[in-house]
Amino acid sequence: MGAFIEKPRFTCPLGGALATVGALPRAVAVLHASQGCGGNSIGAIMQGAGHTGSGYCGGASIPTSAIGEQQIVFGGAARLEEQLESTLEVVDAELLVVISGCTAEIIGDDIEAVLRNYRAAGGGRPPLIHASGAGFKGNSYFGYDSVLKSLFRDYVVPNPSKKKGKVNLWGLPPALDVFWEGNLIELRRVLEGIGLTVNTFFTKRDTLVELKNAADAELNIVVSPVNGVAAAEVFKEVHGVDHLVTDLPIGAKATANFVREVAQRLTLDQARVESFLAAEKASYYHFFNRISDSYADLDFQRYLVIVADTTYAVALSRFAQHELGWVTSLVAVTDPTDPEDRPSVLRRFEGGLPDPERTVAFETDTSQVSARLFERWPKPDGSRYYRPFSPAFVIGSRLDKDFADSIGAGHLSVSYPISNRFVLNRGYAGYTGALHLVEDVFSVLVAKR
């Protein structure tokens, strides 16, 4: 699948899986891969994702079998076994996840057999699961799903009884969504506001015990049209829990829609939901409307270019259209999409863009974003009344800064990679997140004052 890519905005499944395991409390990844696969990924995961850091056992600490020529010829399973045993001795882990890379999978190491032997040894060892991270199988979004699928299949304990009002929520891959933790915290806050119990797996408050007991949920909520959907199918198949696939909500309008969608699905008390939404809305616009004087006096409406993966592209388009009142001229969707899936991705933009067909471009190559804009907006032709693409703003990644500069547009890194900002507990989802987004975007506009 797919041709070459210029400056791809993601890494391989192994990188995505590493970021995912690294975001689970006290879980440790063991790479069964070439020695450099870890080192190659950590820059992308750490500095590329708002300087998220090495965490518990990331960075240079990731245990790695370091397959070399010898293992490629004679097999690497014994080396993996040895590495697992020594990891148990040195590293304090509550869950081990073997992530296999390209070399291990090409030479066909029997990783499942290694897992069986490990489990057979028993003796109070931390549980061990396996997720495929082979680079040729896809990209880091695939790696996120790969880990989730293994967790749901091999770690989550089956439980036929379901708890009313308990939900699991995912769809935001750690690192690839640089704001994943802040986003999860806010979406949980919102859903708790309507009386739900929410399991988000990847925040500081979550524990492996809760992940293990996730099978008694009433509903799984996937806040991305693409990421985590395959894992939700596995969850349904293994544990019989239905899922709701929806978009990442940013801002009062989108979040209210999200909450109503969930409430309807779970048949919650409508009055309670509406009273919660009313209070949130009032609080939100109390702050949001502080931009009004500058917006009105300085004309802070902008033409907008969005460069982001499907999840963020849809969410940001809606927010720009309905909350900021900006005019979006190009949405470059940067994660690879199968041509067959494109019509359904385009449908996601309905209601968020006046003309999705015209505005959305599927473009994985960084330098070509500019070309996609000037297919939609006339290039300067020397005429006196040429209409420049101005005033303009680019919400993209760090890679789009040069493009923004080239058209004299403001720029904010929101999509991956973000190496020019630090991100701690900041999120852009929900109500609080949207206010952060407004702060960050409008701060760019007044940065020189």
Partner: protein
């Protein structure tokens, strides 16, 4: 030792037989290296390191007007995602106003390509790189997967060369082929030697009249190649060029941050000057053999002792010893005056050093001899025959822990826990593990700071003094963060997982 007839140069594993896993005394390390008996050492517990691909392509990508193509699955080269801005800054710092930073592509090999081969995708990427960017050179970095399935990148390069203006440079930097990341330097230099310096595409100086030709040749006699593979920031380049100018030499810096069309002049220089044998031995030896350019590569100019050694090496070649000694006397006097008020801060302080062998040895020496600190431990990424000279002053010092390891933070944390240094000077990705133990850290190299020459001594001293002035952030980190290692690990021998059967990485 010419290897230029080969498509793929030998790895460090076979060419230099270095050691990558050792713990103990310096004496046994030096002896063991000489007999070659340490080169088979491995570990039964290993942690993520870099690979030669990442380093090769990082080095290639620093060269302006180039495109690097990672031939492999989409994740190979993902480290670039964190560095695109920094590459541009480094080029801007050197006066390249048109800097665009790192331009890279991935051939994005899929499962289908594993079966049917990836050469077609590589072809398409090369042609598109030429069309979009019009670069001077296109580096192809071969990764593990195409090497295993048997893609012939040399053949693709040869086939397409007549269709593109850029010089196509295939680099065989597959990660699984070597345990020594430093092989990357040889790989990139091999590409430069084979494809940029050699052959009909060399852009020789335009024909000059006789007077101009004589002037050029005279100048060349006093012109040196100063080699920077990326570990020298611009401020360091400026400092070393200043010192070379001071004894009457001119210097051109290669290969990082220098546009490929300028490389041809490398062959005309009177001398090649390396600041690190780990980086440059392959290149300077080939330059000597093929183009008659001699070289010096004994040491890295860090700390007054090694700056002196380095500058005298260069000066002796040109018969400029007297001039150099004068420069050294003036510089050292001025530096010592500046250091004097800082030294109080270092009294009784201990330090731990961790980085490549040459830099580690020289930096440790600088901390003791220039600042009066006491070094309690030295870690080197690997150890080979070039290490002896910089470790000279630590011979017989049983009080200094010597560890050879590429990262491997588990050994580091164990050592730090025992030795409790006041400050840690380390390579990227290793500092944080010392910091998490509450130890203040100073990055041992970096693109924006000064480390080399006399200025480097002063700058490192001032930065260390500042870091020691308020270690509160480190203390808090040490108190509030949890390391992933079992308590029992700290009670074990830090070298418990080093073994000598050559099995593990």
């Amino acid at each position: 030792m010419s290897y230029l007839h080969l498509k793929v140069p030998p790895t460090r594993d076979t060419r230099l037989r270095p050691c990558n896993a050792y713990g103990g005394s310096l004496c046994n390390l030096v002896d063991g290296q000489k007999t070659g008996c340490l080169s088979a050492n491995g570990r039964s517990f290993t942690q993520a390191t870099g690979c030669q691909l990442t380093l090769s392509m990082g080095m290639a990508a620093s060269i302006p007007n180039t495109v690097v193509i990672y031939h492999g699955p989409v994740g190979c080269g993902a480290g670039s995602l964190a560095l695109s801005g920094q590459s541009k800054e480094s080029q801007l710092a050197r006066g390249n106003d048109d800097a665009v930073g790192r331009v890279w592509m991935s051939t994005n090999l899929s499962e289908v390509d594993i079966v049917s081969g990836g050469e077609k995708k590589l072809e398409a990427a090369i042609l598109e790189a030429e069309r979009r960017f019009r670069p001077h050179a296109i580096f192809i970095g071969n990764t593990c997967v195409p090497a295993i399935i048997g893609d012939d990148i040399d053949n693709v390069a040869t086939r397409l060369q007549h269709r593109v203006n850029a010089r196509i440079i295939p680099l065989h930097c597959e990660g699984f082929k070597t345990r020594f990341v430093a092989t990357a330097y040889d790989i990139v230099y091999h590409g430069i030697l084979r494809y940029l310096l050699n052959g009909e595409r060399d852009r020789e100086p335009i024909l000059r009249d006789e007077a101009a030709q004589i002037a050029y040749e005279q100048r060349a006699k006093r012109t040196v190649n100063l080699l920077n593979v990326g570990s020298m920031g611009y401020v360091d380049e400026v400092e070393l060029v200043r010192l070379l100018n001071a004894i009457g030499l001119e210097a051109n810096v290669y290969p990082c941050f220098t546009s490929p069309e300028k490389f041809v002049k490398v062959k005309d220089a009177a001398l090649s000057i390396s600041i690190c044998a780990t980086h440059d031995d392959y290149f300077v030896e080939h330059l000597k053999e093929h183009y008659g350019v001699p070289y010096v590569l004994n040491t890295i100019p860090i700390g007054t002792d090694n700056v002196r050694l380095w500058l005298l090496d260069v000066a002796d070649f040109f018969g400029l010893r007297e001039e150099a000694l004068k420069v050294i006397a003036v510089e050292e006097a001025e530096l010592n005056k500046a250091l004097a008020p800082l030294k109080k801060a270092f009294e009784g302080k201990t330090a731990f050093v961790s980085t490549g062998e040459i830099r580690a040895g020289a930096q440790a020496c600088m901390l003791e001899n220039d600042l009066g600190m006491k070094v309690v431990g030295i870690r080197a990424h690997h150890y080979d025959e070039f290490g002896e000279i910089v470790f000279e002053s630590f011979k017989g010092r049983e009080d200094v822990a010597i560890n050879v390891a590429a990262n491997q933070p588990f050994e580091q944390v164990n050592l730090i826990d025992r030795l409790k240094p006041d400050v840690f000077l380390g390579h990227g990705n290793s500092n944080v593990w010392a910091a998490k133990q509450g130890v203040p850290t100073l990055p041992i190299y970096g693109p924006n700071n000064s480390y080399l020459g006399y200025k480097g001594v002063f700058e490192v001293a001032t930065r260390l003094e500042r870091i020691l002035a308020n270690p509160n952030w480190y203390n808090t980190l040490g108190e509030t963060v949890e390391l992933p290692y079992k308590k029992s690990w700290y009670e074990q021998d830090p070298y418990a997982y080093i073994r000598q059967d050559g099995e593990a990485a």
